[in-house]
């Protein structure tokens, strides 16, 4: 199945529209800048080479599905690698999750009008939310991000995750409760 020039052009526009959100989503799951870039590039490549000729309205779900699978593959490989590294290395600290880099991304221009104190507290809140997301079990985080970050409905989320709608609701509910408790423990109010 080969894609026409128009297909490639509109695929390019689609990817340009979703790439930053996808990277952010991968970063939230992996907490590693380069790994998130690799994962997004891989997902883009797979979509472009295998599904470019599919109808454009199918791309968002396909891309999400590919992205989630690629993130999961990376996590699985990383787990195996960490096992061997920690087995053979006395200095192996690969199990520790990467710390968030506050310079990883910039606060949006719309925040520049605010005073410095509120910008700092906004960044701290953001870092705590990201930490909370990183602490969630993978499936809960996946459901939460697809449902609220990607703004998918329950049925679409279930399709991407390959589970029932009931499972999605359960994962999302548990994720919200865990995040609420985490933020409350950290003294954060939204």
């Amino acid at each position: 199945m080969s894609a026409s020039t128009e297909d490639v052009q509109s695929l390019g526009e689609f990817l340009a529209a979703v790439e930053q959100r996808a990277w952010r989503q991968a970063w939230l799951a992996l907490r590693d800048r380069e790994a998130a870039l690799d994962v997004v590039q891989d997902a883009m490549f797979k979509l472009s080479h295998h599904y470019a000729a599919k109808p454009a309205q199918e791309w968002p779900l396909l891309f999400q599905r590919i992205l989630q699978n690629t993130i999961r593959d990376y996590q699985r490989r990383n787990k195996v690698r960490s096992f061997w590294v920690s087995l053979f290395s006395a200095f192996g600290s690969a199990d520790a999750p990467d710390e968030a880099d506050p310079l990883e991304y910039l606060v949006d221009d719309s925040a520049f009008g605010r005073d410095a104190e509120s910008q700092v507290s906004s960044q701290q809140r953001m870092a705590l939310i990201e930490q909370g997301l990183a602490l969630l079990p993978a499936r809960q985080r996946e459901a939460f991000l697809l449902r609220y970050w990607e703004e998918m409905d329950v049925a679409e989320t279930a399709q991407v995750m390959g589970c029932s709608e009931g499972s999605v609701k359960t994962h999302c509910s548990r994720a919200c409760h865990a995040l609420a408790k985490w933020l409350s423990d950290q003294g954060v109010t939204l």
């Binding site: 930053q20 870039l37 883009m44 719309s110």
Partner: protein, 118 residues
């Protein structure tokens, strides 16, 4: 936050809480270097064949890890054998046509005759 943070969240409160969290996260955007890397990745992904051979080989090797390992091992083995053969000067006579003819006559043809194939 006013909707029972830390306690039980009903469905409506849960939705509002999640939207608020995501709203906070969306205040940030990727840095310039990340945006550049993403744009580069997109261009590469959209190339019809640019860089795809390497990617194809890598993804094939990833999907068929065991076969790829066997191939790599055989390749290494044959390389090592080639190097050893060159350095040690072993089997230099193998390129001698007379010797090859003699081996064919004495070993191969004789064995065929024994089997009644000829």
């Amino acid at each position: 936050m006013n909707h029972q943070q830390g306690g039980r969240l009903d469905e409506v409160a849960q939705e509002a809480f999640a939207r608020e969290l995501v709203g906070t996260l969306q205040q940030a955007q990727a840095g310039a270097d990340v945006r550049r890397s993403l744009a580069r990745a997109r261009h590469q992904a959209l190339q019809p064949h640019g860089g795809s051979i390497r990617q194809e080989v890598l993804s094939w090797a990833q999907q068929h890890r065991a076969v790829a390992m066997v191939f790599s091992f055989l390749l290494l083995l044959s390389l090592a054998f080639g190097v050893w053969r060159t350095q040690a000067g072993v089997f230099n006579d193998s390129s001698d046509p007379q010797l090859i003819a003699q081996v064919v006559d004495e070993v191969l043809l004789d064995s065929f005759e024994d089997d009644g194939a000829l």
